[in-house]
């Protein structure tokens, strides 16, 4: 028997009041935990995914949509741009590096992104198996994509049109997997990467109207002619561009460009130049995302306020519970004093009760928070939400714990002081 077990006995002697207080506190803290986790992970993902990208250039439309679609692969692209125009921008002296992107297909909802090997370097990916694509229709899977598709190097699959599930399949040409990436914690994990040429050729065939489209028939004739002429060579067999823009003899389109500036001057001049001087649109990931967070901030602050109010009410409820139980227990306290307990021990006893309540509330709150997030992630088909890992524990959760503890201490102050003040003789004589 010691003070801790005694305080615990008192708490478990009133299971309803104790349970209510713990749950009240836990709910408030759970909301705080969820907010903390979501905010932290989104911000982390956002900065990691946009690292090294100074500017995104694409078709006119919403700049936020452009960023979301090209950097985070969430929203739909704003449209396509002419490769010629894109190449003109890349020749600008303010541009250090350009990574072209072409989108338009998916496999089981995973985006097939046409790009070059610079994109792999941008995220510093490592290969778990195989190597990067080198020919048309060769693909490299992100770690999560490979897991979702359940495919391995050497396997083939066909994509379907559009960037979300449900469109018709491109079954004329199967993609062949040449490599699978190791998990990187970036947007790449959930992509199917290939060359821009692959994206072009897939759509050439579905369209089927362009004169130059290579067909099975065409290929045969090339073989007969022994492939001596440039125009006669089947581009499907040539290696793809691993850097810069792919080569094409036709008028081709891209979806967006990821641009890195050569110098700080570019940040001022380039966006304005593109937005006013061309039919294209330039958007900065940093600017658009801070704008988005500002918009979301209102909602987040509202939720935070609600959570804080809940915690405050929980603190008040703990205070009332302690204070009321103290009134019932004045005689108990006097008896404890008569049995040899000091004033300090009685004060500690009441403190321990308040603090045990809040520690329980904090443990449950943090557990609820993670569990709740896990449920959301589990039952959500939204790609955005599934980016959050509910089982990451942050140092900031220690702050939540400390916050709960502070609430407990404040709520116990007055009751424990009145326990300290209890006059034994008076109490014992009263009955």
């Amino acid at each position: 028997m010691n003070l801790l077990t005694l305080s615990w006995r008192y708490l478990s002697f009133r299971p309803l009041a104790t349970g209510l207080n713990v749950i009240l506190l836990a709910f408030g803290l759970a909301i705080l935990t969820v907010l903390l986790l979501v905010q932290h992970q989104f911000e982390q993902k956002m900065t990691r995914d946009s690292a090294g990208i100074d500017l995104v250039v694409g078709a006119k439309g919403s700049p936020l949509q452009l960023i979301l679609s090209s950097v985070y692969q969430i929203d739909f692209p704003t449209g396509n741009i002419k490769m010629e125009e894109a190449q003109r921008i890349s020749r600008n002296r303010l541009v250090k590096q350009v990574i072209p992107l072409a989108m338009g297909d998916n496999v089981q909802g995973l985006r097939i992104l046409g790009t070059n090997h610079d994109y792999l370097d941008l995220y510093g990916v490592k290969f778990a198996a195989g190597k990067a694509w080198e020919k048309p229709f060769e693909v490299t899977l992100g770690a999560e994509s490979a897991q979702i598709l359940g495919l391995k190097v050497g396997d083939t699959f066909s994509g379907s049109h559009g960037i979300s599930v449900g469109s018709h399949d491109h079954d004329q040409h199967a993609f062949r997997i040449t490599g699978i990436l190791a998990p990187s914690g970036t947007v790449v994990d959930r992509l199917v990467l290939t060359s821009i040429e692959s994206v072009w050729y897939t759509h050439d065939e579905t369209g089927g109207t362009e004169a130059d489209t290579p067909t099975e028939e065409h290929k045969v004739s090339i073989a007969v002619e022994d492939g001596t002429l440039d125009e006669g060579i089947d581009p499907h067999l040539l290696p793809v561009a691993t850097q810069g823009f792919p080569i094409s003899d036709q008028e081709r389109e891209l979806t967006t460009l990821l641009i890195r500036y050569r110098n700080p001057m570019a940040a001022i001049q380039l966006p304005r130049m593109i937005n006013s001087g061309t039919s294209l649109q330039a958007a900065s990931p940093a600017f658009e995302m801070s704008r988005l967070l500002e918009l979301l901030g209102v909602g987040i602050n509202l939720l935070k306020g609600l959570a804080l109010a809940l915690v405050l009410i929980a603190g008040l409820s703990i205070f009332i519970a302690l204070y009321n139980s103290l009134k019932e227990r004045k005689y108990d306290l006097a008896i404890l004093r008569a049995l040899g307990a000091s004033r300090g021990q009685l004060m500690t006893l009441v403190f321990l009760e308040g603090i045990s309540l809040t520690i329980l509330g904090a443990i449950f709150g943090i557990a609820f928070g993670h569990g709740f997030l896990a449920l959301i992630v589990e039952f959500s088909s939204q790609e955005v939400v599934s980016l959050v890992d509910p089982w990451v524990f942050l140092a900031e959760e220690g702050l939540i714990f400390g916050y709960a503890l502070a609430v407990g201490i404040v709520a116990s102050l007055i009751p424990s002081w009145s326990a300290y003040q209890t006059s034994i003789a008076q109490q014992l004589t009263k009955a």
Partner: protein, 210 residues
């Protein structure tokens, strides 16, 4: 003499001061404290227990001057050397019988567990795991006696221990208090106006009304 009180007086704020007769008690001896309501019986008991601080005079228990002790040292001394039986059992309802007794040991910083022969003597050995709320009045009073005796105190103070008990139980409780006090050589002071008790104890101290 184990217990001695000399020229004790106490006054509640705004009231005339009460003074108490000097008296002394040897170990194993018992005394009945009688007096009308308002004669200061309980105040006297509280002074003897160190629960109240006398405005004059002193209580000496086994060579220790109670009023010279302060704060926690007084609390600890009381826990270790003075056993108090209250008018009502006042056990801690959140604890079992055994835990109530353990608590008394813990608060007085005494080592060792609850002696079973004490529970045996009091006839509550089978109740040690029972919740306090399931005890009868008599059982609860016996547990509270066990709690007062558990630290083998030098002084046992009982404040109207029989007032809520029937004849049979009242007799048993007084006999128990007397025999246990004698066994451990403690001085026993019983405050009462219960006629049934008066025949059981020969030494009597009567307080006059102020």
């Amino acid at each position: 003499m184990l217990l001695q009180s000399t020229s004790l007086s106490f006054s509640y704020p705004g009231q005339p001061s009460l003074s108490f007769p000097d008296f002394s008690l040897a170990g194993g001896e018992a005394v009945l404290l009688l007096g009308k309501s308002g004669s200061g019986k309980t105040t006297f008991l509280n002074l003897l227990a160190g629960l109240l601080h006398p405005s004059q005079g002193q209580v000496i228990l086994d060579g220790t001057v109670l009023s010279a002790l302060q704060g926690h040292r007084l609390d600890l001394f009381r826990g270790q050397h003075i056993g108090i039986v209250f008018q009502k059992p006042h056990l801690i309802a959140a604890l079992t019988v055994k835990q109530n007794l353990d608590l008394a040991l813990f608060l007085s910083k005494k080592k060792g567990g609850t002696p079973t022969d004490l529970l045996q003597n009091l006839g509550i050995v089978g109740k040690s795991a029972a919740a306090v709320s399931t005890l009868s009045e008599g059982e609860a009073q016996r547990v509270s006696i066990a709690r007062a005796l558990i630290n083998t105190p030098k002084l046992i103070l009982a404040d109207e221990p029989t007032s809520s008990l029937d004849d049979d139980h009242a007799h048993r409780v007084i006999t128990l208090l007397k025999s246990e006090a004698a066994k451990i050589g403690a001085a026993l002071v019983i405050v009462t106006h219960d006629q049934r008790v008066k025949s059981e104890v020969s030494k009597v101290l009567e307080l006059k009304s102020a």
